[in-house]
């Protein structure tokens, strides 16, 4: 399948150079809340990706018919409906995960990435590009969540996906988990570190 340059850019841009979290600093609030452990971070990343992609497609489909004066409300209704459906489906088929994500799932509605993409991209682009843009932004958001959750769960609880990875031997020899990592503030500091690394690498390339 030959993809036009624009379509490719719509997908690849948000993964790196135009990352919603690192460059646009969107969706930070949920990145703090669900990254204490890897599993909820993964599910959150996947849920957001699905919802951004689908809402981008829906809004792009109806973009020419939307009355300009109420476009934000229409976008909000589309997102809210999709979030409700995803949350209902999770409750029916993955009850444990739905309970773990609890309120954060509903709060996807307020995730700035969604409204940002709908308003900035889906309203003015065709369905295929919008789908790719949604997937790109979703994955761009998800990989930051996963990296932060990986570090926080490993250093904060000595576990990954709920399984202990730091051997008992280390604990017996004086190693202890870093309680700070469990606090939301550490997520912010980690995101800050990733942004720092990301900028310094990309600035070098730009020169």
């Amino acid at each position: 399948m030959a993809l036009s340059k624009k379509t490719k850019e719509a997908f690849l841009g948000p993964l790196n150079l135009n990352n919603p979290v690192l460059v646009q600093i969107l969706g930070i609030c949920s990145a703090l809340a669900v990254t204490v452990q890897l599993k909820p971070a993964l599910v959150m990343g996947i849920s957001v990706t699905i919802i951004v992609a689908l809402s981008n497609v829906v809004v792009s489909l109806i973009r020419k018919s939307i009355p300009m004066r109420i476009r934000i409300i229409i976008q909000l209704v589309v997102v809210a409906a999709l979030v409700t459906i995803v949350s209902e489906v999770l409750k029916a088929f993955a009850y444990d995960v739905a309970m773990q994500l609890s309120v954060y799932l509903g709060l996807i509605i307020t995730n700035c990435i969604l409204m940002g993409r709908l308003e900035a991209f889906a309203m003015t682009n065709n369905v295929k590009d919008s789908l790719m843009d949604g997937l790109g932004n979703g994955f761009g958001y998800a990989w930051i969540l996963v990296v932060v959750a990986f570090v926080r769960e490993l250093l904060g609880s000595g576990k990954l996906l709920g399984m202990q990875v730091i051997p008992d031997w280390c604990y017996e020899h004086g190693y202890s988990n870093c309680g700070m990592m469990l606090m939301p503030a550490m997520a912010l500091i980690l995101v800050g570190c990733i942004i720092w690394a990301h900028r310094s690498i990309n600035d070098k390339e730009a020169k």
Binding site: V36, A81, F93, S157
Partner: protein, 219 residues
């Protein structure tokens, strides 16, 4: 074809109305279709919590079938009461409800048939801090309650105190260690035990539960 004016008032209002109707129908259908499954999940979740409180390992068995086998659902006034038979002995499971730091906490406490000694207990929470208050669900915390008594020597209902290491409960009350770093959640557990057990005070002091038939035969 003449392009429709998407900015006119009539168009905007009609558009919004149609949108709302479509979304409402869609959500109603989804909710109706999934409701039985969700209800079953909720029920199964409660059953698993009660089995955990009874220290029954359901990892290798069908939890629902196991539950049917050993637990009978009764009530004490408005409150749920579960009567279980384990190894021929009767256990009473009471529901606990309280407040943690960020949201609700709950649990099920299983008592021996003397309505005094704690046989098992299980906790759940909405949104306590993982690694701190969230630790109340762990085996490590749960097991601290096993074998404790909720009444003093005279038979007065006292609950079990959840206290920081080094502190001592009032005379006659037994205690367990709180979770370090999770003071408010631990206090929440302590208060939940006092409040919920007092709700069942009549039953714990000897009153019979409604509909409780003496369990004689073994399942």
């Amino acid at each position: 074809m003449k392009k429709m004016n998407t900015d006119s008032n009539v168009y905007t209002i009609v558009y919004a109305a149609v949108m709302v109707v479509i979304v409402a129908v869609l959500l109603a259908v989804v909710s109706q279709v999934l409701a039985p499954r969700q209800e079953a999940n909720r029920r199964l979740d409660t059953q698993k919590q009660i089995l955990t409180a009874l220290n029954v390992n359901y990892a290798k068995a069908d939890p629902a079938a196991l539950y049917e086998q050993i637990v009978k659902e009764e009530s004490y006034g408005e409150l749920p009461l579960y009567v279980a038979t384990i190894d021929g002995q009767t256990k009473y499971v009471l529901r606990l409800k309280g407040q943690g730091l960020w949201g609700g906490i709950w649990g099920y406490i299983a008592l021996n048939d003397d309505k005094n000694e704690i046989f098992g207990i299980n906790f759940g929470h909405e949104s306590e801090t993982p690694g701190l208050g969230g630790e109340i669900v762990t085996e490590m915390f749960r097991s601290r309650f096993f074998g404790k008594h909720i009444k003093d020597a005279e038979g007065n209902l006292r609950s079990v105190a959840v206290l920081k290491e080094g502190k001592t409960a009032e005379a006659g009350q037994e205690q367990v260690d709180a979770i370090a770093g999770a003071t408010i959640t631990s206090t929440g557990v302590d208060e939940m035990l006092v409040r919920s057990l007092n709700e069942y005070a009549g039953f714990l002091n000897g009153e019979e539960a409604q509909n409780v038939k003496p369990e004689t035969e073994e399942d």
